[in-house]
Amino acid sequence: MILETETLAKRYRRRWALRDCTLAVPEGAIVGLVGPNGAGKTTLLQLIVGLLTPTAGAVRVLGGRPDAAMRSGRVGFVAQDAPTYAGLTVADHLALGAGLNPRRWDAAAAGERVARLGLSPRLRAGRLSGGQRAQLALTLALSKRPDLLVLDEPVASLDPLARRAFLDETVAAATATGTGVVLSTHLVADLAHTCTHVVVVAGGRVRLAAEIAGLDDLERVVLDELGKDELGRAA
């Protein structure tokens, strides 16, 4: 298992953002995390990469604590909205990746990827489009040659055509290296072609965790799970 959570929970002041979350992600799995806004997706992902500390329960990433896994450089993470330093250039960002991940950084791959995407090294990140910024952030995460890639809403800023291309390319890159991926989205359509597993989160709880191959109609199953939540709230 590259990722395990056990009765994981996170509370912000009086509101539970995530409760009783138990998951196991096998090596090489590509997990799509779906759920409406505010479902707890970002909270779960930030717990996985150690940006948040759990209120209860435990996370094991690559067999250890999240901060140890991050320190090893074996986890790549792109936060929601793909934050980058607006004042730093593309080249500065690659230098940042190289300097902060000296043991894992693949400079050749990073340079090649940026060139292929047509990102000029001298351009400041603040001048890039949302999609280009997402690509730059993903390049930083991928060039660590991670064993686990965690992406929070990676395609939110992309148009529908670019979404598909971005996801296909990400999955191709991950599959080629055997990297496990956990990505979140609120569009079920993003999952069917790219993911091996689906996790449905709503109201801070995991509703469903299954292999996509075993599901007849992914979209209907997911919407059913989310619908139950709506009904539950109405009742």
Partner: protein, 327 residues
């Protein structure tokens, strides 16, 4: 990490370098004429002093407060904390870069101004009057201001409120240290002398903001070069201060006089009365002056520097602890 920290600090460093070069140019160009300038040098001397006093505040607000707060505002902490480097290491390197620059900039600025003003300061013979705009004290202020700005940014997570808080706290801390902590360095020197009837008057003092005290006997400030006079009191042989009752009983004519008369030299009769009064008081009472002599200047400079550096270290320790708990 050092490369990223230097890259992020680059524009701030350029601004500071340009400002320092400008000050240095003025200092070097005008220094040969300072000694001969006399009264004309009062304005530039005050202005240079202000620059030295304001610099640490700018460092705290513009280098310290955004150092971490801006990362929170842009969300880039989620980028940089997801690399193979601990948060503590990240903050330590950022602090080291900004801290080195702050120390270098204020040390250089203070040295330039101290050198420029040396002829005027020597002539003024009031080393404690320009105490916080000379030598090492400003460096301590800058280190403290930076540490406070960074910590405020870390706690508030927003640049502007952190900047405002930094300025307010720096000002408050300076006032508290000057009033209460600075004097604790060394016990003051105490000298006793008889009351001088020619240099002692009667009246009240204070200022409009803090209020004007009641009228009392006032010996003229003693003329000790470079001294920081803490108090001038009138005591009897047993060490008890002169009370209002005693004064009124001894000099009814002086204390009964109403204020608000025309300004100008006192009439001869009044002066005789005053002279008479002080002579009679002087039979039993004497003048006790507590002061810090000028040769303790460096003790006070290092003491002040140490106070602010220790405060900065405490803030820094808290910042690292807070950073580990930040979720």
């Amino acid at each position: 990490m050092i490369r990223l920290a230097l890259r992020q600090f680059r524009s701030a460093a350029w601004t500071a370098a340009i400002a320092l070069v400008a000050v240095a140019a003025v200092v070097v160009a005008t220094r040969p004429h300072v000694a001969a300038a006399g009264v004309q040098a009062i304005v530039p001397r005050t202005a240079f002093g202000l620059v030295v006093i304001v610099a640490p505040a700018l460092i705290g607000a513009f280098w310290g407060a955004p150092l971490v707060a801006r990362e929170f505002e842009a969300g880039t902490h989620r980028l940089v904390w997801a690399q193979s480097i601990s948060r503590s290491h990240w903050l330590a390197v950022k602090l080291a870069v900004a801290g080195t620059a702050a120390v270098a900039a204020t040390a250089l600025l203070s040295a330039l101004v101290t050198w420029w003003a040396a002829p005027l300061d020597d002539a003024a013979a009031a080393v404690y009057g320009t105490f916080d705009a000379r030598d090492v004290a400003p460096v301590g202020y800058a280190v403290f201001a930076l540490a406070f700005g960074v910590t405020a940014g870390l706690v508030l997570r927003r640049t502007l409120p952190a900047m405002a808080l930094t300025l307010v706290v720096l000002l408050t801390t300076r006032i508290v240290v000057t009033g209460w902590l600075r004097p604790l360095a060394v016990a003051p020197t105490v000298v006793t002398q008889p009351l001088d009837p020619d240099r002692t008057g009667y009246g009240s003092g204070g200022n409009i903001l803090l209020g004007i005290g009641p009228s009392r006997l006032r010996p003229e400030a003693p003329d000790i070069p470079d001294a920081w006079v803490r108090s001038v009191r009138i005591l009897d042989a047993a060490g008890k201060p002169l009370t209002d009752q005693v004064l009124r009983a001894t000099c009814p004519a002086v204390t009964a006089a109403k204020p608000g008369g025309p300004a100008g030299p006192a009439p001869e009769s009044v002066r005789l009365q005053m002279h008479d009064c002080v002579t009679r008081i002087g039979d039993k009472y004497h003048e006790v002056i507590t002061y810090q002599p000028g040769d303790r200047y460096w003790t006070f400079q290092w003491w002040e520097f140490a106070i602010f550096v220790v405060l900065a270290a405490i803030l820094g320790g808290y910042a690292f602890q807070r950073l580990r708990r930040t979720a």
